[in-house]
């Protein structure tokens, strides 16, 4: 039983807290290429909203309510979908009105889910991705600062702290402190910054490997090619020990392998994380590699058709 709180929005959020974090840790028994190297992955879609973004979205909204920043205002941010959906779930349950700037070329599933949750959707240029959507949010705030609380997932400390206090500690406990490598892609960079910082504090010998798309245009939804994209304000280049680059084609190949060998139907970015983890495992003789699988393929029907359609796989 949750103790009564003065703000009903906080009370609603506290009820939902139990659906955030503590995602299952899955051991990749068939994809691990060597007996001495373990690969583990957090199945992040098993939270409210169906993605890793439940963690930062919850923390960002909770902070905004506690600080009073949301009082009398609409929640506003830019997202390519997953953070938007996570915000929308918590906002709907807590009675918080919300506006989201979403690139027009986001998938139909995402638009439908967001509309179902009552979000005021502003569709932005399909040529400019989330960078363009961020620009539109800033224009909205500039024109009407009293209307919006722009929570800015790319610059909000509550983003990476959700992983510092959650994901990082979970990985540490779930591997009984045996984790030797953490490897994950960079998007808002919150997952990597928070998890990496926590793991490094717990054991400075843990190697932190960040991943980026190899090319400026890519199919790794949620990831950023930092050379050509707006670099998130929460990104600290000093956190990763190493930077690697992944191509979309490799992630599509891993989508097939993960489905057939591990029973996991992954999103392209999750598959890219897993492909990078498997490649790393081939390079070392022993270790415990951990990655984070941000979401599954549920909201990627067109990608599924593209990847599995040609292969003739039955799914």
């Amino acid at each position: 039983m949750t103790a009564p709180l003065l703000d009903p929005r906080l009370q609603a959020l506290e009820e939902l807290r139990w659906h955030v974090g503590n995602s299952p840790m899955h051991a990749m028994l068939r994809l691990s290429p060597k007996p001495g190297v373990e690969i583990h992955a957090k199945l992040e879609w098993q939270q409210f909203g169906g993605s890793v973004k439940a963690r930062p979205a919850f923390n960002i909204i909770h902070d905004a309510v506690v600080s009073g920043a949301l009082r009398g205002k609409r929640l506003l941010d830019a997202s390519s979908g997953n953070t938007g959906i996570a915000y929308a779930i918590f906002a709907a349950a807590a009675g918080i009105p919300m506006t989201l700037c979403l690139p027009e070329n986001a998938s139909k599933e995402r638009k439908h889910i967001l509309k179902a949750l009552g979000v005021d959707l502003i569709l932005t240029s399909p040529y400019e991705g989330t960078d363009g959507a961020q620009g539109v949010t800033r224009d909205l705030v500039r024109k009407d600062p009293g209307k919006y609380c722009y929570v800015d997932q790319y610059g909000n400390e509550a983003n990476w702290k959700a992983h510092y206090y959650g994901t990082g500690l979970e990985i540490w406990h779930e591997t009984a402190g045996r984790v030797t490598h953490f490897i994950a892609g960079l998007g808002t960079t919150g997952t990597f910054m928070g998890t990496g910082r926590r793991l490094k504090e717990l054991n400075p010998n843990i190697k932190l490997i960040a991943l980026q798309p190899e090319t400026a245009l890519h199919g790794l939804e949620g990831w950023k090619h930092l050379e050509t994209a707006r670099v998130p304000e929460i990104y600290d280049a000093g956190v990763p020990d190493e930077m690697r680059f992944m191509d979309t084609e490799s992630s599509y190949e891993m989508m097939k392998r993960a489905a057939r060998e591990e029973g996991l139907v992954l999103s392209p970015s999750s598959a890219a994380n897993l492909a990078a983890a498997v490649k790393l495992a081939e390079e070392i003789d022993e270790g415990v590699i951990v990655t984070v699988l941000a979401d599954d393929a549920t909201k990627y029907s067109e990608v599924i058709n593209h990847v599995f359609g040609k292969s003739g796989a039955r799914i």
Binding site: S80, G81, P103, E104, N105, A106, S107, K108, E109, R110, P126, Y127, E128, G129, D131, G132, T215, A216, L217, H218, G219, E221, H225, E227, T228, A229, T248, E249, Y252, S267, K299, Y300, S301, E302, V303, H306
Partner: protein, 92 residues
């Protein structure tokens, strides 16, 4: 002359220009003209075998060229072609 709308991630290679125009009889010729005149852009569009990367969506007007003749889709004067970055497999 056909017009090509450049998405934001590639504008680093076009000195910030969002529009590129060139004479081209089909989509591939237009894309080749783009990368021939702008260093560094080729690998972002084509793979090592010279094929347009499978996740890149190119539109002629409002039509996905995959629904037409792919990169061999013919162009006429004043046609507008656009490159759309993928977002979760969404479309224009």
């Amino acid at each position: 002359m056909a017009t090509l709308i450049i998405p934001t991630p590639l504008r680093k290679f076009t000195e910030g220009e969002s529009i590129y125009t060139a004479s081209a009889s089909n989509v591939k010729e237009l894309l080749v003209a783009l990368y021939t005149s702008h260093d560094g852009i080729k690998k972002h569009l084509f793979d090592d075998e010279g094929e347009l990367r499978s996740f890149i969506r190119v539109y002629l007007g409002d039509e996905d060229i995959n629904e037409l003749e792919g990169v061999n889709t013919k162009l006429e004067d004043r046609d507008e072609v656009s490159i759309i970055p993928a977002i979760a497999g969404g479309s224009k």
